[in-house]
Structure formats: C-alpha cells, structure tokens
C-alpha cells in the first residue's frame, strides 16, 4: 500500500490542505485504504479519549447541564419538594429512637464491666496501643471504648468515629468492633472502620487479613470481605454493599492526609470540620451539588478552601475564632 504514510499523516494532522484533499479522495476510491483509515482513525480517537481533563473544565460543563436539568425540574410541583424533606425528618427521628433503645439494652448487659474510652479530639489524629498490643489510630472526633476484661476474656471494642486497626493475632480471642448495628469480627488483620454518628453509612475497609461482618440483632446477616475491598453498611435499610477500592486513599488520614475521590461536598465538609475543628455555614444548596476530587497532605484550611472555590465555584468567607466561638466558614 503506497499511501499508508499519507493516511497516517492525515490522521495525525501532518498534511497541508491540498495534500489532504488528495489523500481523502484516494481513500474514497480504494476499499483497502478506506478500511485502514477507519481503523487507524478510531484507534487514534480512542487514544485521545484517555486524556485527562482539568477539573474546572469538567465543572464548567457540568454547570451547563445542571442548569438545563434544573430549569426543567422547576416546573414540577412544590409538593414533591416538601414531601422529600418530611421523609428525611421522619427517617431521622426513627433512627435516633432505635439508637436510644439499643443504648438502653446495652447498659443492661454490661453494667458489671468498667469501661475505658480513648478520644481523639477534633483536629487531632491519635495512636493508641490497646492492652493486647493491637495498635489503633483514631481520626479526629473519634471515641473508642473497651472494657476492663479486654484481652482477658474478650476483645470487644465499641467505636464512634473512624479508626484504623492493626490487630494482634489471637485465634482464641477474636476482636469485635461494634459501631451502631454493625459488628466487625477479626482474628488478626489491618483494617479501617468509619462510623461517625452523623454518617448514614458505616464503612469497613480491609487492608490485609480477613474480617467478618455481623449484625447486632440479625443472626442471618453475615458477610466476609477480602483485602482491598470496602463494605458499606446502610444503617437505615440494613443494606450491605461490597466493592473494591483504593486502600491508600481511604486510610491516608493516618498520615494527616485528606483524600477525596468523587466525594460529595457534604462529606468533604464533614471531613474538614473534623480535621480543622471549624463550623460551616452553607447558604446555598448549590454547594451540595459538587463532587470533589483532590488529595491534600500538609495544606492549610485556606489553601484547601481556595482549591474548592476554584474547582467547584463555591465562594467562602472565614470568620475567625473569637471568645471561644469556633472559626466559622460561610459558603455560598
């Protein structure tokens, strides 16, 4: 085939306009050339499709489509809108009632044991060594409790918040972390549990070893996950979801990192609130429409906010701490 180079030069944009015309007409005349052009053109285009697009360009395009969708949605009835809020409130009342009930039940069983609680304040990450030499990292705003017989006849932990556990192997005495209705049972392994009280879902991510997931009241509920997998347990629906994920991204908080991958803004704000011990005031529901992607290591809160402002078109105002009132950040 004589015009192979010409065809490829056409595809890679290396021909002058008059040459172009000539090659194009030769493609039309010869089936073999046409086929070659086809395949090479699609290959070239497929390679183009793997290019990375800057976040702000994605956000800009999303802005266009979002505007189209909302102008269409505004024509819907207002009733639906209020009904949605009512449903959320209803669900929240239901959930706290369940938690209160379970809390009472628990005290009945365990009143004889004394509890030790370790707390990582907001803005802190702490590392704790438990009586059985297991090591636990606690993320900001986390409480971990264990009882006086821990490591003697049980290894029961109760967690509110996020912790990464490196569990000392003991096949005789499994370690059980309870958060809400979910129990994570292990023999010896490294894993992360995220169960902040204001999260809808409890997440368990396994780095190595094996863990078993059980339910505090449902005996038939039993799941196992493999290293690299993450289980998300929906506390309201009792629905369990297991997927493969990036371990580094999830447990970067131990090193003080913040990693966001397709994270909804509501989650991002929760993380920032815990890490920097600040309060957010959101004045525009638009804020919650953003999905955020970024990795932060030692960046200051201001640098992070600047980045959010840039990529998500969310503006912010900082009201500094005064008379013991926490720093407040207003988002628009």
């Amino acid at each position: 085939m004589n015009n192979l180079d010409d065809i490829l030069n056409l595809i890679t944009n290396n021909l002058a306009p008059d040459q172009k015309e000539e090659v194009l007409s030769s493609i039309k005349e010869d089936l073999e050339s046409e086929n070659l052009y086809r395949k090479a053109k699609i290959t070239w285009a497929l390679m183009a499709s793997t290019q990375k697009m800057p976040d702000y360009e994605i956000e800009k395009s999303y802005g266009n489509i979002h505007a189209r969708i909302s102008s269409q949605a505004n024509q819907r009835s207002i009733f639906f809108k209020y009904f949605k809020y009512a449903a959320v409130v209803f669900a929240m009342v239901g959930m706290s009632a369940t938690m209160f009930y379970m809390g009472r039940q628990n005290t009945g069983f365990t009143h004889a044991l004394k509890y030790t609680s370790v707390v990582a304040d907001k803005g802190q990450v702490s590392k704790v060594i438990l009586p059985d030499s297991s090591v636990v990292w606690l993320n900001s705003g986390t409480t971990l409790s264990y009882n006086s017989s821990y490591s003697q006849n049980n290894r029961d932990l109760s967690l509110s918040g996020e912790a990464f556990l490196e569990v000392r192997k003991n096949t005789q005495l499994p370690l059980v972390v309870t958060s809400g209705k979910l129990m994570v049972k292990v023999l010896g392994t490294r894993f992360d549990v995220k169960a902040y009280p204001d999260d809808k879902e409890i997440k368990v991510l396994l780095e190595s070893g094996k863990v078993e997931l059980l339910h505090t009241s449902d005996k038939s509920f039993r799941y196992k996950i493999d290293p690299g997998q993450m289980a998300s347990f929906d506390q309201q629906s009792n629905k369990m979801n297991i997927c493969t994920t990036n371990v580094q991204v999830f447990s970067g908080w131990k090193k003080g990192e913040l990693n966001f991958v397709d994270t909804p803004m509501s989650e991002v704000l929760k993380s920032l609130k815990r890490k920097f011990d600040v309060v957010f005031e959101v004045n525009s529901s638009k804020v919650y429409r953003s999905v955020f992607n970024a990795n932060f290591k030692n960046e200051s809160l201001k640098e992070i906010l600047d980045y959010i402002q840039y990529t998500c078109q969310i503006s912010y105002t900082i009201i500094p701490e005064k008379n013991g009132v926490k720093t407040k950040i207003i988002l628009n």
Binding site: L24, T43, S49, Y62
Partner: protein, 198 residues
C-alpha cells in the same frame, strides 16, 4: 465515596444527583475527547456530549439492569452526531460559521457510523492503551506521546528528538499498528478478507 456502576444505576434511578455527577465526571472527558476527533469544533462536540448526559438523566427511570453507562452515552453521542449533523440546514449553518473541510468531515462521520458502540467499555480501553503504551519500545513511545498527547507535528518531534521526519513516521506507523491489534475488539469488522501488508 467509591461506587461501582451497579450502585450508580441504583442511585440514579432514585433521582440521586450525586450519582449523576459521578457518572458525568467519569465519562464526560472520555466522550468529549473522542467525539472531538470526529467533530473538529469544540462547541459542537461539547453540545453533543452534554446532550447525551441530558438524555441519560431524563431516561434514568427507563434504564435496564446492567446498563453500561459508557456504551449508552457513547451510542447517544454517536447518533446525535450522525442524525443531527447530517441535517442539511444544520450543516449549512455549521460550514458558514466555521471553516471546516466538508470532505474530511463527511469521511469522519462515515467512520463514526461504522463503530459498534454497544460493546464499548471505556475502562478497558483505557487499560489497554496504558498497557500498550508502556510496552512500546522507548523511542516509539516518546514519539507517540508527543504526537498524540501533546499534538506536536512530525517536524517538531523530529527536531526535538534529533531524528529525521521519516523516522518519526516510521515510529508512528509501527506504534499505530500495535495499537490497532491491541484494540481490535473495538474496531469495526471488515466485510472481506483484509490483508495487511504493513
């Protein structure tokens, strides 16, 4: 938040805009850069791809289980190109406003129409391309990166790497052949026995 396509579908069907945004972030760049190769105008390519997402949102309740979002969106974009742009009035307007080569454009639309978009799995495509790129001989890879991802002309590449234009062309010919073999499942079948003599 880490969601697979099944979760996304579940959430999307329940009007979850976050799920929609995640799908958008994942597929918009890929589709845009792909379509841009066939429709050489940024505005039009943008419009076409955004229309696909608009349709996805509006038809979210009709989606069937195991919907391959990439293939679904790509098929919409492809049809959009073919039917909307083929409209003569639209085309006239297009050519009046922008100086684009009609013959090339028509040829490219023909190529686009020959693609079977139903089996497109963009994750796999990306994976194949990354792998193949890393397997290329170093110089060939360098030429390819400059030509494809930095949009440099062969002459510029030749100067930068201190080689002749002929050698650059050779690398591109060789590389593209390797890529075509690696991506064969995503390229149109030919109706007759096609003897490749390159």
């Amino acid at each position: 938040m880490f969601l697979n396509d099944q979760d996304l579908l579940w959430r999307l069907k329940r009007d979850d805009e976050i799920a929609f945004k995640v799908i958008f972030n994942k597929y918009y760049p890929q589709l845009y850069y792909f379509i841009l190769e066939f429709v050489p105008l940024k505005d039009i390519a943008e419009n076409i791809v955004q229309d696909s997402f608009f349709t996805l949102w509006n038809k979210r309740h009709e989606l069937t289980e195991n919907t391959n979002f990439g293939a679904y969106l790509f098929t919409l974009a492809k049809n959009n190109c073919l039917y909307r742009i083929r409209d003569m009035r639209y085309k006239k307007k297009l050519f009046a406003d922008f100086p684009i080569d009609n013959v090339e454009f028509q040829t490219n639309l023909d190529v686009l129409s020959s693609i079977d978009s139903s089996n497109y799995t963009f994750e796999e495509i990306e994976h194949i391309i990354q792998r193949t790129l890393n397997e290329l001989p170093p110089q060939c890879k360098k030429v390819f990166m400059l030509s494809r991802f930095e949009e440099k002309k062969n002459k510029e590449i030749a100067e930068e790497l201190n080689i002749s234009v002929k050698v650059v062309e050779k690398h591109i010919t060789k590389g593209l052949k390797i890529f075509r073999i690696a991506l064969k499942d995503y390229l149109p079948l030919v109706a007759y026995l096609f003897i490749e003599n390159i």
